[in-house]
Symmetry: C2
Subunit: 191 residues, 2 copies
């Protein structure tokens, strides 16, 4: 899709989109502002990304360089902790502020919800399914474990409730504890 | 606080606030609109509730007539299922639409977040803690079970992820399954 831009230029552009998103929010983010910030033409932006929801979704995806499916340590517990360990606390805090702003925008913009679902949510869920399937194949989790379809719900709850209920940002220590206290026990406590 | 209004009149007023909230959202809901809809004076509204965040938080609390702490069947599994059984699917769907709109408003209005925390979130968490404490006292859940502080996170995740990830409304069947598949196993599968 982005064949006319170098990878470096594309990365730069995505970073600018995320900066704008943090500064002004989704509603006030315009293709004009992105064009001005990145010194590119609007025609280029539309040719490469089609529309604003698609551009924002791609920029967010770019922000997650490691796909979940690539994590494969040989143990589910280590897979989850490796995932948490890849993040740093500062990025986690910035990302969860971004996500809270986006949940608001998603509510008003079904086209953004659709783009996020296709570009970000569904690939992440597929990646998570692969990690879980490997744990089942290794015999760590029973294939009929009733919690398997709900791992994503548990993880989303960690992020949302931490802020909503506790008014604290998500950090690595919290996520690590939550995985050991909730996610793994619900899956039958694999080694 | 509402000593000058009859309980019936107060209930009527709260219902109108929730109707307005569903119709126009938090930002567009004004004390003028509440006064007009309920044929009361703005002076009365301010005298009784102080301000808009407080009025909205009280109206939402009124919408939850059974406090969690009142549920006490003698078994944690039955307590949770009784809680789910009290709702009907239509109300669950209306309530979760309301909650999604509010999460957006909370992001922009720290005074609303504060009022919701005091009037709604903290009492519900205290109620949940009482239900869990009784289960520990009955010996159903170990006192040092690491998932105990995270029950609220698991429940919030059920509501948010159902809509965000699956794009489906929360209903009784889903919540019942989630409790059996996730919440109770994480707590060591009490009877």
């Amino acid at each position: 899709m982005a064949s006319r831009l170098t990878a470096e230029r594309e990365a730069e552009l995505y970073e600018s989109v995320l900066d704008l998103l943090r500064e002004v929010g989704y509603d006030a983010l315009t293709m004009d502002a992105v064009a001005a910030r990145t010194r590119s033409s609007k025609a280029t932006l539309y040719r490469q990304w089609g529309n604003k929801p698609e551009l924002v979704a791609r920029a967010l995806r770019h922000n997650k360089p490691v796909g979940l499916h690539e994590i494969d340590t040989g143990s589910l517990r280590r897979d989850f902790h490796e995932l948490v360990g890849l993040e740093d606390d500062c990025k986690l805090e910035k990302d969860s502020a971004l996500m809270r702003g986006l949940m608001r925008a998603v509510h008003d913009n079904p086209d953004l919800h659709q783009a996020l679902r296709e570009v970000l949510i569904e690939p992440e869920i597929t990646g998570l399914d692969q990690v879980l399937r490997r744990a089942v194949e290794r015999g760590e989790v029973r294939a009929d474990c009733p919690a398997l379809p709900y791992v994503v719900h548990m993880l989303v709850g960690a992020f949302v409730a931490r802020q909503l209920v506790e008014d604290k940002p998500v950090d690595k220590a919290f996520l690590g504890n939550y995985i050991d206290a909730v996610v793994l026990p619900a899956l039958g406590d694999p080694v």
